[in-house]
Amino acid sequence: MSLLQISEPGQSLDPHQRRVAVGIDLGTTHSLVAAVRHGVAECLPAADGRVLLPSVVRYLDPAAGGAGREIGFEALAAQVQDPANTVSSVKRLMGRSPAQVVGADKLPYTIVEDQGMAVIETVAGRKTPMEVSAEILAMLRFRAEDSFDDELYGAVITVPAYFDDAQRQATKDAAKLAGINVLRLINEPTAAAIAYGLDNAAEGVYAIYDLGGGTFDISILRLTQGVFEVMATGGDSALGGDDYDQCLLAWVLQQQGAHAALSASERAALSAEARRCKEALSEEPDQVVFAATVAGKQIDQVVRPADFEACVAALTARTMGAVRKVLRDAGITASQANGVVMVGGSTRMPAIRRAVGEFFGQTPLTNLNPDEVVALGAAIQANALAGNSRDGDLLLLDVIPLSLGIETMGGLVERIVPRNSAIPTALAQDFTTYHDGQTALAVHVVQGERDLVADCRSLARFELRGIPPMVAGAARIRVTFTVDADGLLSVSAKEQGSGVEARVDVKPAYGLSDEQIATMLKESFATAQQDMAVRALVEARVDADRLIAATRSALQADGGLLSAPELVAVESLIDSLADKARQSESAANIESATEALGKGTEAFAALRMNQGIRKALSGKKLEEV
């Protein structure tokens, strides 16, 4: 790994210093990485020139030696001969228990349950969906680092807007395993809107219809002067192009009168042929021929466009139902949309374009490549977050797609954060104790719109410990539910009377705990070659470097807010950290100096924020108070 440059104290930050920040579309069937270069967002190709990376990982028998796995086109090619170890569409398993994976029986590999999570049994052992996704993300990371011949600073990774907390957390965990610093998780429709909004320089209300390989999202956004405000979002996180393939496959088998159970290998081959036919039909030929072998018998089924549309009509109708609901949530009618954007390879299907066009009474926008648009939008956002774009005029105001609630008596759900609330947001709920001297409390958080806990998704159990012992009912514990800009939930709790903050232990329903991730990181390919101590030291230096650069930048902008002695104090903390970062061999020493600089600038941060807020109000006061 190349050495990192650490600024010499006294050296001012180079205003043209760019950080390598990319956007990553981690899709069900394909993934991409994109970056802004010379002011233009573009997808980064692999050595062979292809920008798409099939989201497929094949695990090899460890006894055979070698890399142990294949990723991308190589793995895809092996899907038919080695279906049990070739993992495709892993996005469908992220943050899910086996019971929740829709169509699990149609997947050619074996899924089992491990600590609530769906995991895959392969010849190389059990693999969690996060590990599989991490392999794909790492490939994209290496591709980006090769393209720029530089370390990756961070990435914006996209997720379906309708992904719940567990699915989002799993995505973040996968990125961690791949050694990627996640700048932000953003919703796929919002990313597409960025690419279109900035490309078409448009203002108004837009509907983003995003049908990918495995997920469907519909978002309504309002664009005004660089601000992308999500009005409402909805969808189906288990409906995508894959389902259209399976529909066609089932129809073909029915036409052929083939009822025998399929082997995993046959299923993989037939699914691939179904996808090929679906894509060929998008060119609107008179017909295509579905050709495959089932139980030793060769079948050739003629499929006309009308046949295909008839058998998938119900799927398309389902998407339109979600569209109607989201328009109601946004409080607008179809005719009030200024434009409709099509995102995702599956929107190439003529039936989809027709249905959407008819519903909205206008031709959908398709001028950007539907496969690339999400990655491009993510790259633009990554560029802005990394501080590379000169004027930060891009702002995303997104929402939480599903209500968050807690379990109360009788298995009912009490909604704390309603769906389509702007994020970040925080809402508090007061609890009390039931027994004398009770020092702990458990809160079960669920996500969904139904009234019964059993009908919602269990997210996690939060155990609050360290409540001061009191008479039953005397404690007033304020539990604050915070949803951050990534759409992730965190919980904090404080006993109001004593001011004691409870310790919160999170037990996710479908994910990995922090300790488990740390263990996996130690054992994973990304760290295997390195001595752990060396890695910790390098990371401590990188963090110190970042904080110094950020603090210097802040001083350059608003140093005037500090008095002379305050300025001197901050500068000396910077110098002390820069010294330690250069000279110390102890990660712990550098980390504590980093923390000291952070603490020493808290007051400065508060002043800057206050100034910013006042600036937003000054000169625009409507009325005298």
Binding site: R19, G154, L183, R184, T224, V227, E229, R328, Q381, A384, L385, A386, G387, G392, L395, L396, L397, S421, A422, I423, P424, T425, A426, T482, D484, A485, R546, L547, A549, A550, T551, S553, A554, L597, G598, K599, T601, E602, F604, A605, A606, R608, M609, N610, G612, I613, R614, K615, A616, L617, K620, K621, L622, E623, E624, V625
Partner: protein, 174 residues
């Protein structure tokens, strides 16, 4: 004036504490404020600044949600003026109002066509508009916050009923 997280919603948005509001100006102000405070602006900033940003961004969203909804805004004005709503403790309503509510509930039970429901929704909308006008008068002209609180409690009934009508329309697939 120095603003803090404890400042009122109106102060944070630079608006006079009244019921009448310019919705377009409120929306524009929300975006201006989030441009300054949103965590995305601080992605490469020190951890302390990121925490500040998070707190302010949350506070601004909270204020926006409260100020843009007429009922929440009216309830907030009551709170600020020493007449909090306390809906669970104050259930007394005028007999005429209660009769109206009961009649509406009966009509909803008997309604079974989308046309019936849409007519009901329109009736409720008319009643709601009238109540909002009265609210504005109590809040901004009479400055009678006790009366305002009572009106808010009544309006809460009406809003809940409007939601129930909508839910029934949803069920019928509209």
């Amino acid at each position: 004036m120095t603003l803090s997280l404890q400042s009122t919603d109106f102060d944070i948005f630079g608006l006079a504490p009244r019921f009448a509001i310019d919705r377009a100006a409120l929306d524009a102000r929300w975006k201006d404020l989030q441009r300054e405070a949103h965590p995305d602006r601080f992605a490469t900033a020190p951890a302390a600044a990121q925490r500040e940003a998070m707190q302010w961004s949350v506070r601004i969203n909270e204020a926006y949600q409260r100020l843009k909804d007429p009922l929440k805004r009216a309830a907030y004005l009551c709170e600020l003026n020493g007449a909090p709503i306390h809906a669970e403790d104050n259930t007394a309503m005028s007999p005429a109002f209660l009769m109206q509510q009961m009649q509406w509930r009966e009509d909803l039970d008997e309604a079974d066509t989308p046309a019936d429901l849409e007519r009901m929704a329109e009736d409720v909308a008319v009643a709601r508009r009238a109540m909002l006008e009265a609210l504005q008068h109590a809040a901004d002209v009479q400055l009678d916050h006790a009366a305002l609180a009572q009106q808010v409690r009544s309006l809460m009934f009406v809003e809940r009923f409007a939601r129930d009508v909508d839910a029934r329309l949803d069920q019928l697939g509209q």
